[in-house]
Symmetry: C2
Subunit: 139 residues, 2 copies
């Protein structure tokens, strides 16, 4: 494996927030969080982490790559299932420490390993007097 790409160094707060130069912040483990939404519906499909290599591969190939924290390796989402994520747009937040990917899910459109389209298939009861035992419902 070649060395992971070195993205631009972090600049001043003004450069980070107002600049047009990508200066991503990786955490102590070298990871940056990535929110994945379905381009057409806007639904949140999943949440995962990227290291510099996964980020570079995603930018280069426009296919979602992540870092699997459980396996400790690069993870091309959908490599086995065929449900790869084609990235139509990618955004960075004000602090440049969170990514947002808008994607089209290939194959049968399932993004979650449970077989659900989205990982977020359950809603929480709000305003519950039952805290801390919060009932869930199927979304």
């Amino acid at each position: 494996m070649t060395a992971p790409p070195r993205f631009a160094q972090r600049g001043t707060q003004d450069e980070i927030e107002s600049g047009l130069r990508f200066q991503p912040k990786f955490d102590a483990d070298g990871l940056i969080p990535a929110i994945v939404t379905e381009a057409a519906s806007g639904e949140v499909l999943m949440f995962a982490w990227m290291d510099a290599q996964a980020l570079a591969m995603t930018l280069n190939t426009r296919i979602g790559h992540f870092f699997s924290r459980s396996r400790g390796t690069l993870w091309k989402k959908g490599e086995e299932s065929g449900n790869v994520l084609r990235v139509s747009e990618m955004r960075i937040d004000c602090d440049q420490d969170v990514l947002w990917l808008k994607v089209v899910v290939n194959g049968d459109g399932v993004a979650c390993h449970t077989g659900a389209r989205s990982c977020f298939y359950r809603t929480l009861a709000l305003g519950s007097a039952a805290l801390p035992d919060v009932p869930l419902s199927h979304a």
Copy 2:
């Protein structure tokens, strides 16, 4: 301050993924990530972290509370600006370690401290040969 609520203990993988009992996983710092989208548009507005107290207050009040990692304290989003987040729906992911909040932003509808409606106001150039220097554009 009273002790933070103790949510249900983590169960088996099957209980966590298929059950209807909320068993949130907090990380080593006692935090769980929260994705915030605008209920009407589906746009991702911001990303923040909650500790057990912030999560309980959000569930109880239906107003977005978070844990400020920089200040190390509870953070009622919009307390000063008036742009509090009214939560219309809250979801948990398959692993029960990420939250998704659909919100209505009060006041002038601005969610980002920079004055932008969303923190994600810049897009990355995709498929760029310019890696690792990635140009950003205003969304």
